[in-house]
Subunit: 290 residues, 4 copies
């Protein structure tokens, strides 16, 4: 049983922290909006703190899952941030999908303060967090990772050390790049099927086992055809991730024409009111003839 | 046991016709290059004819698998074409990936001549043809399809009537549209992983079960990383298919920006000498920094 | 003074044929819709014929300006087509924007019939036709071109022999390729200016003399900002031209990613009801935040 | 005659500062690399300072032209930065192409320190700077602009106040957006002409007066055909500008698909070794058939 702090009780962090408590760890949570932290304490056993710094005081492990780079800098390096109070020898594990650069910056700061840092973004969505079947991509030192791995297992189905600090974030970027072109291809295919007067549902069934198969096809084609997007991974999160991806590509020289375009297509979706829609809503901007 | 003619003994038609013979049907083959037909007769039991018209004379069912619309018109409507000699009440089943328009044109001609026509493009590649596990997407009359279905089962793992004449071709187009964006996304992801100095192999393993999963990822990422493309579905076939797709979209009003772009990227691959490379070779045009 | 037939009295052909008559040539017109031909004869002095074949009987020069490849084949090679009746030693000049392939096909047919063929697509729009300031890009034999040039001067400000048969069409394609990316860039710039709350009109004035300058910027930015597209060169004509361009590129190996994408964006415009809008209507599909 | 400081003697700043001195102003320059400042003082009459803060001590007007946002923050807000020492009532004019955000940030800081700030990016290139024919797009207060305008006239052919702080930068972004699609369209046109075996030079001449006309076509087609890119506005500058543009669009909701794609194409050019090539080098990545 470990003493763990969890910073950020959003759609992802709330159930993740819950699994830690349910597995018997002593969890202290911090959330900007205090009411959420109070609700969490009522639902699970544990404590809550008024600032990140107070939350981490006694912790062996600190998990964090906030929105983006800026949020992360605030809860770590800010005046009341966790890094002011982390215990020597403790580990800070960041589950935020953020840049590899901020991961490297925080790792340097952690070393200076005498504790360790891992970047550990996740995939699997809110359902994955609730059902403890997340995939976790970790960047950092192997010895540090080994200490943390049993804790991560509380909410992970699959986890892996990808390399040095930042590698977790880079792997998550690889994941998001795969999805963009794939979803746009799927959206175009369904849009074409509808424009051609085909039974799109039957078409998907017949092609779903071959070379066109994908998780998105199997799990999203029906909602895409029905125009239902009120669930899943939000378009505005995806654009945040693509901003990170394209900025990283600018540095490493990778050429990502379709990713860059799909990112722009998501701008259309947001302008249509779809900031919170699932990423499969790319089909919504492909209008059929009026 | 049926009397069957098979026109076109290419990479696909050769093994498909073979399965028919092996299942006990009486097969007469036609191939433009006669040597291939002779080789086929030696390998399987059957006969070969010097023209499509001669091949189909006694046939209840005629299967065809040639290259493109023009080839198809030649072997059907040409001076020595099959349509000159099809028996009344027989069925012509076209496995070529061709346009829905040529399918409709040939169906009209078939009706005038007193026989039936089905468009029945396949997916599953050469391996699928060899192992009799093709997926077949059929367009035409239900009663006609029912007569043909047991024959198609000789080389299909999955087959389905999609609607009226042309629906088979339209479904195949839907399949190809899915693949374009998906493969380009995958290529960009691998290219990014390499540019970022990540262990791309490990990254693919860790993301391969989640929202980024696809048949192409699972079956192609290793060869893509290794730069091996000497197998599979040829880029020039894909461009032929995309020409058909984009022409059809021009008529039905569908908007296919990423498909159109990937089609252009395949032009790059062909200019690099990759006309016969597998479609996963999209990664070959994404060069890392010199 | 020459005997000239003019086939196709559309937005372009009507005034072009008019200039020939006004310069003193003996003009016989043919138009599919006879009423237009009658109106033309009333407005200018001349005759009209009931079929292309009848129109060209006495002509030294035959000019043609119809819609597309199919239209062109019909008025030339059709049962009542011009090629049935062209006088030996005469010249057929095609002003239709069509493929280089149909030009080459018709040139071969013309040679067989004992007359000459030039492809001679134009740019400059309806206003250019009315004001006799068209640009004409000609493909064919130099000696033939020299006989025709003085006639073309009746409605051209600029004309030039570009090479053998088909070169006129290829040059026109080059023109259309330039315009696509240019207009989309301009549309994105105006859309950005509006989204940023900038005085877009002032911005255009200040950048209009430098490296961003273009004919389209100078002549279209105000109507683009005003959302006025009811004039100019129709989107559906542009899509026809891009179909020809992309088909030709498929043969010659050129890679045209942005042209291919803009072609798809025009599909959006058509789906919005803009088939007859000016090509500058690309901005209409870039919607600002709701 | 005014007392002026000029910070940043690069390709642009060096000749701009020179014009100020030649018009009789008392100019003190600062350049990170001191040797350049010394050379400038030898070529023109004036003084140089060791830090931005020292350079601006006596100045009524401070002009600045450095690389990007970070550089600009360093020479203004840094420990030895200009903002530590600007005289009350003076004006800081930034000619760097930078973000509207940094402009707004610096304007706030300037107000706090008791002086004024204008963003004033330029276009016209190094030749424009040398020949004093730049276009200057200014953002800020009208009364401040009026004081500065006569000074800017030393190197501007055209200048205009576009609105509040940041508007100069936004206008420059509009300029860069126009250019991207335009240049890619032009590159595709020339590439197509070459692939088609056309006389590309003749084609450009004949279309250069019509709807395809642009400054880039007139001034760049010959060097593009010749593959000469060793001059002009560098690709890596353009990518820096597009990073700013796409970041701003992310905030204001503008959809810029072709701009985003051209930005990726420039990544290809950089990977080919073309970081310093002129932006017209987009054609270099369009390879003809091998
Ligand atoms: N949702 C999903 O399906 C997936 C999300 N992710 C990634 O996980 C991360 C979290 O996502 P999710 O939980 O959905 O996001 P939510 O918006 O639901 O939650 C964000 C959390 O961060 C907190 N927070 C944000 N900014 C600050 C700040 N400046 N200071 C303190 N706390 C802050 C919020 O506090 P408050 O409650 O006060 O707002 C909240 O607890 C993101 O990086 C996302 O990209 C990864 C995979 C899937
Ligand atoms: N290969 C694959 O993985 C897949 C292919 N397909 C589709 O199946 C079709 C066939 O592909 P595949 O077998 O690989 O192609 P091949 O090139 O291997 O074979 C083409 C066959 O068509 C014949 N043919 C071509 N033109 C003519 C003509 N004008 N007259 C007579 N015969 C002609 C050829 O004869 P000859 O031997 O004389 O050249 C040959 O038998 C294509 O439409 C393709 O898109 C669909 C799914 C997968
Ligand atoms: N070149 C062109 O054609 C055009 C350029 N522009 C824009 O003008 C700006 C300048 O371009 P250009 O003159 O070509 O660029 P150069 O690279 O030639 O010059 C950059 C200048 O900035 C200085 N500098 C850069 N970083 C710092 C720093 N951190 N601290 C102090 N000084 C610094 C450099 O000093 P040092 O000499 O020590 O390196 C140099 O004087 C850019 O924003 C560019 O986008 C706009 C229009 C056209």
């Amino acid at each position: 049983m470990a003493r763990i702090a969890f910073i950020g009780l959003g759609a992802m962090g709330y159930p993740m922290a819950g699994h830690l408590a349910q597995q018997g760890h002593a969890v202290t949570v911090y959330n900007r909006t205090v009411a959420t932290a109070q609700r969490w304490v009522e639902e699970y056993s544990g404590a809550f703190a008024q600032t990140p710094a107070l939350a981490v005081l006694q912790a062996d492990f600190v998990m964090c899952c906030v929105g983006n780079d800026d949020d992360l800098r605030e809860v770590t390096l800010g005046a009341q941030g966790a890094f002011q109070a982390m215990a020597a020898g403790s580990v800070f594990v960041d589950h935020t999908t953020a840049s590899a650069q901020v991961a490297r910056q925080l790792a340097v700061a952690a070393t200076q303060h005498g504790f360790d840092f891992l970047d550990a973004p996740v995939s699997g969505g809110q359902a994955g967090a609730q059902n403890a079947v997340l995939t976790i991509m970790v960047g950092g030192e192997e010895s540090v990772y080994e200490r943390v791995a049993p804790i991560l297992a509380c909410y992970a189905k699959m986890q892996r050390l990808m390399g040095g600090v930042g590698s977790g974030q880079l792997t998550k970027m690889v994941n998001q790049i795969c999805i963009g072109g794939l979803l746009q291809g799927l959206a175009e295919a369904l849009h074409f099927a509808q424009s051609a007067g085909l039974d799109a549902d039957a078409a998907m069934q017949v092609i779903s086992k071959g070379a066109a198969q994908s998780w998105q096809l199997e799990n999203r084609y029906q909602t895409m055809l029905a125009g239902e997007f009120d669930f899943g991974f939000a378009v505005e999160w995806m654009r945040k991730d693509y901003a990170i991806v394209l900025e990283e590509a600018r540095r490493n020289g990778a050429t990502l024409p379709v990713t860059a375009m799909v990112d722009q297509f998501y701008a259309d979706v947001i302008n249509m009111g779809g900031a919170r829609w699932d990423t499969s809503s790319l089909i919504a901007r492909l209008k059929t003839k009026q």
